[in-house]
Structures are given as C-alpha cells and as structure tokens.
Amino acid sequence: MFAKMILPSATGLKNKTGSWRMGKKPKFLHKNCTGCRMCYLICPEGCVSGSKKNYDANLDYCKGCGMCVEICPVKDIIMVEE
C-alpha cells in the first residue's frame, strides 16, 4: 500500500496566488517599453510573460510585490488600485 506522495510536474499552477495581493496590482502601460525583459526576468513568481515590447503579469498568480515596477528602467509599469 502506498500514500500517493510523488507529484507529477508543475501541479503548483493550480494554486492561484493572485488573491494574496493587498489591493494593488501592476499595470503594464505598453508605451515606453524597450523590450529589455527585466520585468520578466526578476518576477519572483515567474508570472510575467510576453515578447518584444509586449509584456504583462498574470494576475492569477501576481502577489503584487511591485518589483517589476521598481526594475523597469523606463517607468512603463505602475502600481494601480485593484
């Protein structure tokens, strides 16, 4: 007899952590984006995706830490009220 303790990959995607946000969410303005990918690279959730100059955060998972806002060199991401 076994307890089913071995997990298949990436089941964590079912755990939507977006509900953790404390009233603010990032807004990607898509105005000045240079496509440097820093927002994609530094998101601790790994929930920023996109290509070229068109990135966005997946709000199902985004915990609203605001690191993408801090890192954006052209201030193309801002925190807004939910």
Binding site: M1, A3, M5, L7, P8, S9
Partner: protein
C-alpha cells in the same frame, strides 16, 4: 562449493553477486571489512559499481537514498554510532519508500565507548519503517542479503531492509560458506527498475511537505504494507530461495524442537547458536525444551503469540535493553502472547521471563543459558552476569 571465509568478506561477495550500482559506507568497527572487500572487488574489476567514500554515516545513508531514487540498486553497511547517526535518514528512506538494503553489524552504543557486540544499536531504528532481519550465522547472513534485495525492491513493498549480524561473532568469524553462482542470483533477483524515479524524461517531485490531511496515510501505508504485503512475501521469497539455492531459508522464524516442548527459549541473532547447544544438552537429559528463533523482527511475526501461548514457560534472551523498561524482544513477545490470548479466549498463559545478556561484548556461557531453564522466579528484565564489584554510588 563451500569456501572457508570471513563473515564480512562473505557478505561483501554476496552483495557483489546482487549487482548493486551505488555503494556508500563509512568506516566503523566492526562493519568496515564489508566496504573494504566491496572496494577491492571494484578495484579488481570483479564488480561494476560506484562506491562513494562519504564523510559520515549520515551521508552514506543519504547518498544511497539519492542513488536509489535515481533508479539504481544500492547498498550500505554500518554499526553502532554509525547507525544512530543514520537514524533520521533511515526514517526518511522508509517514508520516501526507497528499497535501500543495508547491513547493520550490531555493536554496543556509547557511552562508554565500546566496540564489541550487542544489539542495542538496531533498536534505535526499530520503528523507522525498515524491515529488520537477524542472521544466526554467516551463511544465513549471506542468504538474507540476497532475499533482502528481492523483498525491498518488490513493487508492492518498496521499503528499506536492514540485515543484522552480530559484530565480530559473525563479521570477523570464519565459516564454511556456500556462495551461489552469479547465474543463479541473476535468476532470483531481476534488475531493479522502479516506475517512479528521478528522471528528466518524466520530472517528478519527491519529498514534498505534507500537512495533517496527508501525513497519517503515509504512516498507515507503511504499517499496512508491513502487515500485509511484506508478511505474505517473506515466506514466499524464503521458499523460492530454498528451492532455487537448495538451502533452507526460514522466513519469519525458525522452530527448534518445539513440537513436544514445555519450555521455549526465544532470541534472535547469533545467540541462537549457544542456545541450540544448550537445548541439545538438555534434550540429552530428556528435558522438553526448544527454541523459537526470530529472523524477521520487523514486521513482527504475527503467529508468535499463537505459537508461544501453548507452552508453560517462555525464556526471552536478548542483547538489548529499553532502559527503564524491558528488552525490546521481551515486550514484543508479551504483547503478542497477550493479544493472541485476548482474541482466542484462552485463559492459561505461559510464564514469560526476560533476560538481558551480552551487552558490550560480555561473554554468556552455556551454563548461564542452561541455568535460566531451572530458574523458578519470573523476571521481565534480569541482567545476566552483572559484576557487583563494578558498581557503586555517585557519592
């Protein structure tokens, strides 16, 4: 063909026949000859395996845990403090359901430091989820190793197995041993190929954190496996072994002159040898005495209660003590007999005495063993051979 070999060498040669892929061990007396012999077999090209000279027993157990999870047959051996250092890893191996096979060359536990034999070390991992075998002699130690791999790796079992052998008595003693052919071992023991393993082709997560809603089932599953799958497979594997290798293997326990006995000794490990000699001497005097030798200690053989309940007297002799209570085997025997009595409704129970002997390598004589047979009083944990001169008060 029988060869006159040292215990540790025989075990290492037998393990090599089982084709482990990764071996890790750390030097500790009296276990060291096993990894030494395995190292030379690898050095001489007689065994294709990776051996890791780890920096502690904790890492030895962890190393084979990792290799086992990667889908490779693994082996380690240790003694005493080494086993205690491995303890948390052994619990972990069982919890992860990895079929690790190990040999514990039983030795006393510190302090005071003492390298000689007793069986207190293994009691520290008695409740870990590892299957525990005890060998009486070198031949049985070898035979149990081959069966250990088969049992551990059975897809319905997937639990660690520890084969216990008495330090020095069996590890350094010499015996005429029959080592089987590679062909026969290969036939008995198919290659290990688990369904779940660490493999980038199928990325799985092992060792996740679980909360109260999941944890209890993991323990229940191990317990259930011990009491069902392991219980049914041990006799089958022993029978298959007996048939294939032409040498009797008993499985859970061996009965020695039990049929007409009034009084029965119970023990495990190499102590069985002198007890059998004692029984032979007593039988010559027409005394109705026998021995029940425990081979599988975990899972504890369920029939023990039924078997023992019909005798007048049971004498449990062991080389371990749960300080402040009784010997480990004694309390298991009493529990089994009482449980059987409760369930079967029998009212007459045997008188069960518990004796502790041989701690830290203290000699036990045949006379001392025989003397227990005539003892009228009942004890739960009487120490044999205590020298009062060695004792005093703190002040």
């Amino acid at each position: 063909m029988k060869q006159f070999l040292e215990g540790a060498t025989s075990i290492a040669k037998t393990v090599a026949l089982c084709r482990p892929g990764v071996i890790a061990a750390y030097p500790i007396t009296p276990q060291t000859h096993i990894p030494e012999e395995l190292s030379s077999l690898i050095a001489n090209g007689e065994l294709k395996a990776e051996i890791v000279n780890v920096e502690s027993e904790h890492s030895a157990a962890s190393c084979i845990l990792g290799a086992s999870a990667t889908g490779v047959r693994v082996y380690s051996s240790t003694s005493s403090q080494g086993l205690l250092l491995m303890a948390e890893v052994i619990f972990n191996i069982a919890g992860l359901r990895l079929p690790v096979v190990m040999c514990c060359v039983n030795r006393a536990v510190s302090a005071p430091i003492n390298i000689w034999n007793d069986q207190q070390d293994i009691m520290s991992v008695r409740d870990s989820g590892a299957i525990l075998f005890f060998a009486e002699n070198i031949q049985e130690a070898c035979d149990l190793h081959i069966q250990a791999f088969k049992l551990a790796e059975d897809p319905e079992v997937m639990l660690p197995v520890i084969v216990n052998i008495d330090g020095f008595v069996l590890s350094h003693g010499y015996e005429a041993v029959e080592l089987p052919s590679q062909e026969l071992v290969d036939k008995f023991l198919p290659p290990y190929n688990p369904i779940y393993k660490l493999d980038p082709e199928n990325p799985l997560t092992f060792g996740a954190l679980v909360g109260p809603e999941w944890y209890m089932e993991t323990r229940y599953a191990i317990h259930h496996t011990m009491l069902n799958e392991v219980k049914s497979k041990i006799p089958k594997i022993a029978e298959e072994f007996t048939k294939m290798f032409g040498r009797k293997s008993y499985g859970f326990y061996e009965e020695y002159y039990l049929e007409d006995a009034d009084t029965v000794y119970v023990t495990f490990g190499s102590l069985s040898g002198p007890i059998k000699d004692t029984i032979d001497r007593l039988r010559e005097k027409n005394e109705k005495v026998g021995l029940l030798r425990i081979i599988t200690y975990r899972p504890f053989p369920a029939e023990i209660g039924r078997i023992l309940s019909k005798f007048n007297r049971v004498i449990v002799l062991e080389k371990d003590i749960s300080l402040g209570h009784t010997g480990g085997l004694y309390s298991d025997i009493v529990t089994s007999v009482y449980n059987y009595a409760q369930n079967s409704g029998i009212s007459k129970l045997p008188k069960i005495s518990g004796y502790i002997c041989g701690l830290g390598g203290r000699d036990v004589s045949l006379e001392e063993i025989e003397q227990l047979y005539t003892e009228k009083e009942i004890f739960s944990s009487k120490f044999i051979g205590i020298n009062e001169k060695n004792l005093g008060s703190y002040i």
